[in-house]
């Protein structure tokens, strides 16, 4: 029963997207829309088959920047959150600065990274890191503090050690929150990397979109966007898989 329902959903979604693509193809042909304005799906497909290896190498560049920025954001983000929760000095200094930073558009700092660390991959990683780190810090802080006070009492009745409380309770309790932060952060890291490439890139999908645009090669720009979407989705899917694998005990429906 559930499987039949699932199959019907898959079918419905597939039919919808195939219909959209066909309609798009039909409209661009019927009205002879110029390809520098909106290319037909068949033209985009042409670019992809012809230039696939080039596209893939640009995708790998962006993937590397995104992943390194994300991993940095995860490591430093969780460390910052733990520090902020445990040390009043950090809570009163680092935390307000983070909130302040978070409330302004991070991409505005991107040109400065070029001045500070050059036009290489480092400035893109820094950009991906900066856009991705905040949701991880904020979610982890929430996970470390937002727990049942009676659970804390139960553990405190057994031990006064903060170390025990942290490793046995607070940290594992916060993991679903860390993952919630990661789900937001991974997509933001892609944005950060792309903006970095817009500003000073010589390779990567963001660079490709920009240079294709400059030459009015819109089919190429569309193809690059398609690779970008697929890369973004794959990364998001990997976070979801990692969560399922690492937190088999966590069920949203059962929570609360």
């Amino acid at each position: 029963m559930a499987e039949a329902l699932q199959a019907r959903r898959v079918l419905r979604i597939t039919v919808f997207y195939v219909a959209v693509v066909l309609l798009w193809e039909f409209v661009t042909r019927l009205f002879q829309v110029p390809d520098w304005l909106v290319p037909a799906p068949s033209q985009i497909l042409g670019v992809i088959t012809e230039k696939n290896s080039v596209m893939l190498s640009h995708t790998l560049v962006t993937l590397e920047e995104t992943l390194l920025g994300f991993v940095l954001a995860l490591g430093l983000g969780v460390a910052c959150a733990i520090g902020i929760v445990h040390f009043p000095l950090l809570r009163d200094t680092l935390y307000p600065s983070l909130i302040m930073f978070n409330s302004f558009p991070k991409v505005a700092i991107a040109p400065l990274f070029v001045v500070w660390i050059g036009v290489g991959i480092e400035s893109k990683i820094a950009n991906a890191f900066l856009t991705a780190v905040f949701p991880i810090v904020l979610n982890t802080i929430m996970g470390l503090t937002n727990m049942d006070p009676e659970l804390l009492e139960l553990v405190r009745s057994m031990s006064k050690s903060r170390w025990v409380l942290f490793w046995k309770i607070r940290f594992p309790y916060s993991l679903p929150y860390v993952f919630a932060g990661c789900k937001i952060a991974i997509s933001l890291a892609v944005i950060g990397a792309i903006v970095g490439e817009f500003i000073s890139g010589r390779s990567g999908l963001g660079y490709l979109v920009l240079s294709a645009n400059n030459y009015f090669n819109t089919p190429m720009a569309f193809a690059a966007l398609l690779y970008l979407v697929l890369m973004s989705l794959a990364l998001y899917g990997m976070v979801i898989l990692a969560e399922k694998f690492m937190l088999p005990w966590y069920r949203r429906e059962a929570a609360g």
Partner: protein
């Protein structure tokens, strides 16, 4: 009989930030013998939870003296087991590892206590659920896991704060008898807080009645019903007499207040 708990003129005053004081407990005194099952009944807000938290080392006292197993109370100690109204299981641990939490925290020998944990879980009817996560269990089962966790390190004193209060009546009665069965095997002293008079009479050797704010001990009733207790004991004249005397004690207080 040896004494397990001695509480001597214990008082607790909460001070809020604006300087107002709330007197939660006033000169509470009682003793509990080793291996005795004692219930505390009283209206909500009579300070019975405060009393339990002080005994658990979670809350400081304002005045008075407490000794448990002959030692003056000063903070958390590993010969006390505790159970709340909520099961408070760790969602990320399977049933067996939840039960072994105190063993880990007290740094006891895991191997030795794993056997004990398995036996406890078996007695509690959870043998088939040892490898499950908490979200896969019903509320009553979760509370039984919490009970096993409270007992695993063989505490000399078990503190229970309305442990079955969130369960439906039938499950609640069944849990009571299961508790008695486990208690019979593990022989710790039990201090059981409840607002259900029948539950208190059914389970206890002694029932303490507490007044509401400030909490004082109004009366102590020895329940000399035969053990093992059975559900039908509820319909006997002795049982009804005990519970009606306790109820009267509670009601007179409520009428005065």
């Amino acid at each position: 009989m040896e004494e397990s708990i001695r509480v001597d003129r214990l008082s607790k005053v909460y001070r809020s930030r604006d300087g107002t004081e709330v007197e939660a407990l006033r000169e509470v005194s009682f003793t509990v013998d080793r291996g005795e099952f004692v219930s505390i009944v009283g209206q909500s807000g009579c300070g019975k939870s405060s009393l339990l938290k002080i005994l658990a080392g979670l809350l400081s006292k304002t005045a008075g003296a407490i000794s448990i197993e002959g030692r003056e109370l000063s903070g958390p100690r590993n010969d006390i087991g505790i159970m709340f109204q909520k099961p408070l299981l760790l969602e990320w641990r399977r049933v067996l590892d939840n039960v072994l939490l105190p063993v880990e925290i007290y740094r006891l020998n895991r191997k030795e206590y794993e056997e004990k944990a398995r036996r406890l879980l078996g007695t509690a009817g959870l043998a088939d659920f040892i490898g499950k996560y908490p979200f896969e269990l019903s509320g009553g089962m979760q509370q039984r896991v919490a009970l096993c966790r409270a007992l695993v390190a063989e505490p000399s004193l078990l503190l229970m704060d309305e442990p079955f209060g969130a369960l439906d009546t039938l499950t609640r009665q069944k849990m009571g008898f299961e508790l008695l069965r486990l208690w019979d095997q593990w022989k710790s002293t039990v201090l059981f807080v409840t607002h259900d008079v029948d539950e208190a009479v059914m389970l206890s050797d002694k029932v303490l009645v507490m007044s509401s704010r400030p909490g004082t001990v109004l009366g102590a009733f020895a329940i000399d019903l035969p053990r093992p207790r059975q559900i039908f004991a509820k319909d006997t004249a002795e049982f009804i007499q005990f519970s009606s005397r306790i109820r009267r004690c509670l009601w007179e207080e409520a009428a005065d207040g």
